[in-house]
Amino acid sequence: MSDTQTPPIIKAVALRKDYGEFHAVKGIDFEVMPGEIFGMLGPNGAGKTTTMRMLSSISPITSGRLFVDGLDVEKEPRKVRDRIGVVAQHDGLDPDLNVRQNLITYARYFSITGKAAQDRAREMLEFFGLDHRSGSGIHALSGGMKRRLTLARAFMTRPKVVILDEPSTGLDPQSRNRVWEQLNRIRDAGATILMSTHYMEEAAQLCDRLVIMDNGEILSRGTPDDLVMEHAGSLTAVIRPNNGNGLAVRSALESMGKVVRDRGASMVVHGPEQLRGELGQIDNATVRFRISTLEDVFLNLTGRELRDE
């Protein structure tokens, strides 16, 4: 990624999408480099899905430019779609076909047929732990299996980049972990992925770099660690004042030169490791320390929680 010679696999320049008066994406810029997992983190309505729909050319671009593998999405939409794999939030699986047929049928749209398609389907089903279900109907699969099948389908065609729209939404924690584990293995194998998520944990675990989005704009960008360090420091002190002492505790903190952020019943102060020593002795309050997260970053940037809709 530090290699400036490598051209980006996806490049968005002042990308914009309006639906009448509603501005879904407000002129964003970003670049995804080959071999990385690039995340778009933000709540519903941030513009993540719209951006992905523009990439697969099922949503026309209002203004700005969008390139995949050097191809202009507006000018050569079909060639772009030849090069990408898409996993939408809804699985888009074919209930009239079995697991293997879903893969083979999809591969044909990329001119992958016959033995090549059969072999690749076997390989993908094995990789995604579905080889024992290749003859099953879609209705017989659990939610996690369906999601893994959509991943297998996207990777059937050896795409240059895979676009994942919220890959673990709606999955139970076990299935989610399984999906994460497989995405990690795919990343290790060198795949390039653009994913959206509203789970900060997912972004933190999987993404090499990410942008934080809200209301159609990119608020900040960087590696998960950099973003946390930049916007929330390494440590977060969660301070819960005893009854009636809220204002006193707050002014005590502020007199120490701390930026105090309200979080409902408690308040937080971000800072480096030293915070632990400084805030250990606050009167009339319980102080708890924890590692800062992307959730803190998002809250600090937008004033609201990531899971807000």
Binding site: H90, D94, R108
Partner: protein, 264 residues
């Protein structure tokens, strides 16, 4: 395929049409036993009930045809409408709205012009299956006097193209799943009964006759009857051309409306 696109300036991949068609064939093979009852049994019931049930009370109807001979080609051609209409309206709506399969296809390098062609040609394939089944039975029963009657099979395919296109147009503008019913009740059924399959158009009130002739099935019924008796004239050619014209209007209309609905 790329070369075709660069040579003609038209970006159309026939292999994708085949891909969409093949998807339907695979799905059909998965449940053929159930589907084949609709293909064979329903039209057969209509043929037997109308031909031999009602037909018993009907005296010679057009020239020296028995009612069974009159109604058989009509029923065969008219029945081709249902599977195409069903596949491309109700079925298409399910695939598009409930299962999001169209979105999967167009996120892959399939264009809506290819998707629509695959859907409609599959609808026509199903129409041809039904046509073949009933055609064979009618031939065995001796209801079709001319060997030209075998040409009712490609005619059934053409009926499928027309109604597949019509169904897809409707699926792309229908606001809700529930409203899909209307294409069967308000459009399919009147067309089926007033296409001349069951009684001659000229027995209708003279004001209604042009309406009946304009219906998209009437031409096919007329041609089927000509093929079954072997007496063909210019009117049959007009009927055929009308059907071809309808098919070539519905198809582009379908994919333009699909684009409007799906590309947003």
């Amino acid at each position: 395929m790329t070369s075709l696109a660069t040579k003609t300036g038209i970006d159309f991949r026939p292999s994708n049409v085949y891909g969409v068609w093949l998807r339907h064939w695979l799905a059909f093979k998965g449940g053929w036993l159930i589907d084949s009852t609709a293909i064979v049994i329903e039209p057969l019931f209509i043929l037997l009930a109308v031909g031999f049930g009602i037909g018993r009370f009907v005296e010679g109807i057009q020239g020296d045809l028995s009612y069974q001979e009159f109604v058989a080609p009509g029923i065969i051609a008219a029945n081709a409408m249902w599977p195409a209409l069903f596949n491309c309206s109700w079925g298409a709506y399910q695939r598009m709205e409930n299962h999001k399969i169209y979105e999967t296809m167009i996120s892959a390098p399939v264009n809506l012009s290819e998707l629509a062609a695959g859907e409609i040609i599959w609808g026509a394939t199903r129409a041809a299956m039904t046509t073949a089944a009933v055609l064979i039975v009618a031939m065995i029963l001796g209801l079709l006097s001319s060997p030209l009657a075998i040409l009712i099979l490609p005619l059934g395919f053409l009926v499928g193209l027309v109604f597949g296109g019509m169904g897809l147009v409707y699926a792309s503008i229908a606001p809700t799943q529930h409203s899909m019913m209307l294409i069967f009740t308000l459009i399919g059924t009147p067309i089926f009964f007033f296409s001349g399959a069951f009684f001659p158009i000229d027995s209708l009130h003279s004001g209604l006759q042009p309406v009946a002739w304009a219906m998209p099935l009437t031409g096919a019924v007329h041609v089927a009857r000509g093929l079954s008796t072997g007496e063909l004239g210019l009117s049959h050619l007009y009927g055929l051309l009308y059907m071809i014209g309808l098919a070539s209007v519905f198809y582009p209309l379908a994919f333009i409306l699909l684009r409007r609905k799906l590309i947003t």
